[in-house]
């Protein structure tokens, strides 16, 4: 048994690049962004006395004449095509409600899932009655944003074999702004585990599925025990993700992998200690810079 007790110390976020305090593009509500009337007002801004003013704390983004402020700490604002990981909160008629870290619960319609067996047919009344057998409250799914409703709620679909119910693994909930947008958010990492980096900040870590399981797809979940070595890799990845998130490093396959490699000299449970966290994030930063340069 071990109880690690200590006095708290002031710790700063590890960053090799210029300090965030020098950044000019960060604004707080009420800051005047520009008094030039030639710009268009985007999200996170309002016009007061012909001056474009920020209404959220975040970073200013400009696309041509459109100025938006993207909040740094926010709930998930989904866009069509985003990959999300979510948890079923409610089973309703013909739809599931899914918690996806956005303002409103997302909706997964019965008509936008692949029924077990993979066949495409009209959803019958029987399917409606057996909805809870496919997905019940508390279950985790991976899905893609199909459309956005008027009120901002998301409509999801799982009409691809890569989406569907998630089996054994670990969920890590992080800020959506830490997830880097990429071509694919599904990665089979070479260290022996797989990762789904949901755009909504929910990250799913799971043992890399075998060939057969992958083909089964859909709603089948294996309850066989996961091997100890897989478990250790997943736990290490989980702690690495938390370390990276604590120091505000963008998450994508390379950064996670580099962090994993940097952490190998430490025991899994030690990674979350502040000083170890600093050390491995620093190493990750260096590796990322080397790769870029």
């Amino acid at each position: 048994m071990a109880a690690d007790m200590r006095l708290p110390t002031i710790r700063k976020t590890v960053s090799l690049s210029a300090s965030a305090f020098d950044r000019k593009d960060l604004v707080v509500p009420g800051d005047v962004i520009t008094s030039d009337t030639g710009f268009m007002r985007g999200h996170g801004t309002y016009v007061d006395d012909d001056k474009l003013t920020a209404s959220v704390a975040g970073e200013v983004q400009r696309v041509d004449k459109l100025i938006c402020v993207r909040p740094l700490k926010t709930r998930f604002n989904g866009e069509v095509g985003d990959v999300v990981v979510g948890r079923i909160t409610e089973v309703q008629q013909k739809r599931w409600k899914v918690e996806t870290n956005s303002r409103l619960d997302s909706v997964l319609l019965l008509s936008s899932v692949n029924l077990p067996g993979g066949e495409l047919r009209r959803r019958s009344a029987e399917d409606e009655l057996t909805m809870r057998e496919y997905l019940q409250e508390g279950d985790l799914i991976s899905a893609e944003v199909q459309s956005v409703f008027m009120d901002g709620a998301l409509s999801l679909h799982t009409r691809s074999l890569k989406y569907g119910k998630l089996g054994q693994g670990v969920l890590v909930q992080l800020s959506p702004s830490l997830i880097k947008r990429q071509k694919t958010h599904f990665h089979n990492l070479p260290c022996g585990a797989s990762i789904i980096l949901g755009n909504n900040g929910f990250v799913w870590l799971y043992p890399t599925p075998g060939q057969q399981e992958e083909e089964a797809g859909g709603f089948y979940t294996s309850l066989e025990p996961v091997s100890l070595s897989d478990r250790e890799v997943i736990s290490r990845l989980r702690n690495c993700l938390l370390a990276l998130a604590a120091h505000k490093v963008l998450l994508y396959d390379t950064s996670v992998l580099y962090c994993y490699e940097s952490s190998l000299q430490h025991q899994v449970k030690d990674i979350l200690k502040p000083e170890v966290m600093e050390e491995i994030v620093m190493l990750t930063h260096q590796k990322l810079l080397e790769q870029e340069g």
Binding site: P8, R23, L166, V170, L223, S235, K248
Partner: protein, 309 residues
């Protein structure tokens, strides 16, 4: 308490992990998360401490007031406990939501301290039958991330260690009336002996094994847990089963044994840390508001083309 949802498959994963002595965050079954302790954090109290355990954060303030001793024990002072589950910790505590948990926690604390050795209550007596010190121990939950009992007990021990009760002098005038005089010197104060103050260990039964310092996810997988408060000598001042399930007698004996072992080992590093902090004195930089997880800076590197500003 803050509740989390866990799917069946996740439960299976957690259960098997505990069976293999490798938990989701890489700990073994009897490992604690790392704990940060700081005393003397609130200036208006006579003693205070803040403890963070993982993301659980607890603030304890001790206030000493002069009161009347209980008629059954006229030569002893007493302790009062109050646990506040503020809506800060989780929205579930909004309004009266946290009340039930608060009473449960404070009642357990009364039980834990319901013995003659934890605190020398006689030292709190000022004048037998008339005046004594009443120590109000107020616990504030700042964040909930599982294992409240253990964090609270450590915080209380630290706060009691930090408590400074002003010295008083009793003088009687000619008519027999008594006057209590408070010492002017702020350094002339009484300290409590906290050597025997117990620490609570919560053991969660998950599957066929038990874990200490369970996270909320692990707690969701467990049917029942056992709370054991252990002194530095290894004696048990309170034991209690919590949760909706029942336990086998044999597993209770096993858990008692483990709880005693784990609890006994908590005291030495805690006392060492408290004494170390005490010896640092005013040189130590206070880090009171060190909450984890607040994003202070943008995760993205600054771009050359930075808006229209």
């Amino acid at each position: 308490m803050a509740r989390v949802q866990v799917s069946e498959a996740e439960k299976v994963y957690i259960l098997h992990g505990i069976r293999d002595d490798l938990r989701v965050d890489g700990r073994g079954c009897e490992d604690y998360r790392h704990m940060e302790i700081e005393t003397d954090v609130v200036s208006n109290t006579d003693g205070s401490a803040k403890v963070t355990l993982g993301h659980t954060a607890v603030l304890v303030g001790v206030k000493a007031e002069i009161g009347k001793p209980r008629p059954t024990v006229p030569t002893e002072g007493y302790l009062e406990f109050f646990v506040d589950c503020s809506a800060n910790a989780t929205p579930e505590f909004e309004g009266r939501g946290g009340e039930e948990l608060g009473t449960e926690l404070s009642n357990t604390l009364y039980k834990v301290f319901n013995n003659k050795r934890s605190i020398d209550l006689k030292s709190l007596c000022i004048c037998a039958g008339e005046h004594c010190w009443v120590l109000y121990v107020d616990v504030l939950l700042l964040q909930c991330d599982g294992n409240l009992y253990d964090a609270i007990s450590v915080a209380i021990k630290a706060a009691l260690f930090n408590t400074k009760i002003p010295k008083v002098h009793i003088s009687s005038d000619d008519e027999g009336g008594k006057e209590i005089e408070l010492s002017d010197d702020p350094y002339d104060c009484m300290r409590l002996n906290v050597e025997n103050v117990p620490c609570i260990v919560t053991l969660c039964k998950v599957g066929h094994r038990h874990v200490v310092d369970a996270t909320l996810q692990e707690k969701a997988c467990s049917v029942a847990s056992l709370i054991i408060s252990v002194t530095h000598k290894g004696t048990i001042t309170c034991m209690r089963k919590v949760g909706g399930g029942s336990l086998d007698p044999e597993s209770i004996f096993e858990m008692t044994e483990a709880g005693k072992r784990v609890g006994k080992a908590l005291h030495a590093p805690l006392m060492k840390l408290l004494e170390q902090e005490e010896s640092l004195g005013k040189k130590r930089q206070k880090v009171y508001t060190c909450f984890p997880g607040l994003p202070l800076v943008s995760p993205q590197p600054p771009r050359e083309e930075s808006g229209a500003k």
